[in-house]
């Protein structure tokens, strides 16, 4: 599945990731897999992890807490309470530019589909997160670097519209190298197109919660990935507009430690919180409850008033007695 080595998965995207990430972090799965495929090596600390332990830990390294990249299937399994309903991938024009670089775009697309079993780089599903109904959209970095093209853009628009139609919050889990260059300007146009869908959620008064995961960059960061009512990120996630190498070439100096990582963005006021993958489900559930169910949920705690606190009990200062 998407836990394969990420080498080569970024070919489709405006993706600087493969070009700059230090060897230490590169790969995320240096899948020096045993013949039985039972052990995985953590790309961050080098620890060999038994596959079942890794699965139980939601692909977070038990020894160093490194959050490995996961795809839609693993994400849905981790977030939803039990069953969930996957949305059909909407129709989108295939290869509108008849694009060819060193290979044909249609061939790259076919390979990605064979490798991932998915139609495109974005998958949506409906289910319950910690008891709360929600539509969840997950970007799949293993599919051409999670690149944003017409298929993914349309998947986002239709997921948002389902959320509006069924009055549900939308949770967006990003992972993308950016726009899909092979679709040229039509890829770029997914920035305003997805933003229209975000506006529709806003106007319906529905929460749009973004979870930035590793990596999120380029045109994706500069559109729906940064427009959440609430912006969360996984620990260590690389979040950027321009990649570090491009920036280093521009400013001709070394970048600070941790630059463009989730914690750095948090410190610079760009996101609301960094949330561990093991806490994500309960965090999302709580946020959805707070936003979707604003009145007290337990009637026993509300003086039987249906959630409205009587004004007399809410008085802040004693009124001084009137003097004759």
């Amino acid at each position: 599945m998407s836990d394969k080595p990420t080498k080569g998965t970024s070919e489709g995207a405006i993706n600087w990731i493969t070009n700059f990430v230090r060897p230490k972090i590169k790969g995320f799965f240096n899948a020096r897999e045993t013949p039985e495929n039972l052990w995985r090596k953590c790309a961050n600390c080098g620890e060999m992890i038994f596959h079942r332990d890794l699965l139980a830990a939601q692909n977070v390294c038990p020894s160093c807490d490194h959050h490995m990249r996961i795809g839609p299937k693993e994400r849905f399994a981790a977030l939803f309470d039990d069953t969930y309903e996957e949305l059909h991938a909407p129709e989108a024009p295939a290869d509108p530019l008849k694009f060819r670089d060193e290979r044909r775009y249609t061939e790259r697309l076919k390979d990605a589909r064979t490798k991932t079993g998915a139609v495109d780089a974005m998958q949506a599903a409906k289910g319950r997160i910690d008891g709360e109904d929600a539509v969840v959209v997950v970007q799949n970095f293993a599919f051409m670097g999670g690149s944003l093209g017409m298929g993914a853009g349309e998947a986002f628009v239709s997921a948002a519209r389902l959320a509006v139609a069924q009055h549900l919050p939308l949770v967006m889990i990003t992972a993308s190298g950016g726009a899909r260059m092979q679709e040229g300007i039509l890829s770029l146009m997914q920035m305003p197109r997805t933003t229209v869908a975000v506006e529709e959620l806003r106007e319906a008064g529905l929460p749009y919660i973004v979870v930035l995961t590793d990596p999120t960059s380029g045109g994706v960061t500069a559109s729906y990935a940064m427009l959440g009512d609430i912006q969360l990120a996984e620990p260590g996630a690389m979040i950027a507009f321009s990649g570090p190498r491009v920036i280093e070439n521009t400013i001709r100096e070394k970048l600070p430690e941790g630059f463009q990582r989730a914690e750095y963005l948090l410190a610079h006021g760009m996101i609301d919180a960094v949330v561990h993958r093991h806490k994500l489900k309960e965090t999302l559930g709580r946020m959805i409850r707070l936003l979707m169910k604003p009145l007290p949920i337990d009637p026993a705690k509300t003086n039987g008033s249906g959630g409205i606190v009587p004004v007399k009990d809410a008085a802040l200062m004693p009124v001084p007695p009137e003097e004759e």
């Binding site: 070919e11 405006i14 993706n15 989108a92 024009p93 290869d95 509108p96 530019l97 008849k98 694009f99 060819r100 670089d101 060193e102 017409m150 853009g153 349309e154 628009v157 726009a179 260059m181 092979q182 679709e183 040229g184 300007i185 039509l186 890829s187 770029l188 146009m189 920035m191 305003p192 197109r193 933003t195 229209v196 975000v198 506006e199 380029g218 045109g219 960061t221 500069a222 559109s223 729906y224 990935a225 940064m226 427009l227 950027a240 507009f241 321009s242 491009v246 920036i247 521009t250 400013i251 100096e253 970048l255 600070p256 630059f259 463009q260 610079h268 760009m270």
Partner: protein, 321 residues
Amino acid sequence: MQPYLDFEKPIAELEGKLIELKRLASDDSGVDIAEEVTRLETKAAGLLRETYAKLTPWQKTLVARHPNRPHFTDYVRILIEDFTPLAGDRAYGEDHAIIGGLGRFHGRSVFVIGHEKGNDTKTRLKHNFGMAQPEGYRKAVRLMSLAERFRLPVITLVDTAGAYPGLASEERGVAEAIARSTEKCLTLTVPLISLIIGEGGSGGAVALATANRVFMLEHSTYSVISPEGCASILWHSSEKAQDAAAAMKMTAQDLLGLKVIDAIIPEPLGGAHREPESVVRAAGAVIENALGEFDTMTPDEIRRQRREKFLAIGRMVPPGG
């Protein structure tokens, strides 16, 4: 003296000869050069026409980046009366890569916002070559809010290689600033008309070009990434920029075919830089017409038209481009 692009060398030689010839004649008035001048002029004009009739996408990229191409400031000087620049994002700073302000266009008050690249070393540095930081986009959002409040149309002029890829720019959330600017464009209930006057580079262009009407100058470009950037990623060599420019379909003609833009504004023979005044006036006429189309629409209709226009992009692309 006119700076020539590489592919204009034969034209440069002819026009150079003409200048030389005229100079000689003025030094020595006894020489009759009229016939030779006419011959060279005809030849130069013919060559110019021939060259510009079949510009490759890469050549168009070079024309779009021509240093003498009319820039934001030229459009404002020629088209906008009482232009009153309004500076700052009210949060951090003033970004000279994006200029914005109030002015009067063909009699009506408007907001004008756009990228300015500068035209010599000093102004290029001042305007950071038209590559904006977050503050530029946040200023644009602020001005669009004012336009909404006073119910004034917005005209945007797009001319950027892209947002500035700098450390501070990233730290202060350039991606978020671009996203918010695009979002602001989509919430406006006043008309928003956009012109790609040179380079429409990536998200930094979209942030101002999510408009009710989008026009491109004949030799301007609009793309998801620069041809050099695309080539270095997909071809692993920036020298394949010519191939990338062709493959990405980034010319005004390509974009009209893909129904991403509404119309093309013709440029004078040899490019906008040869007759800046006339091309800017032609652009003015197009803006005037476009604004007129929204006079009878309600605020809600204006916003809906813009959203539906963008949602329809791609859905209308004919099979196989």
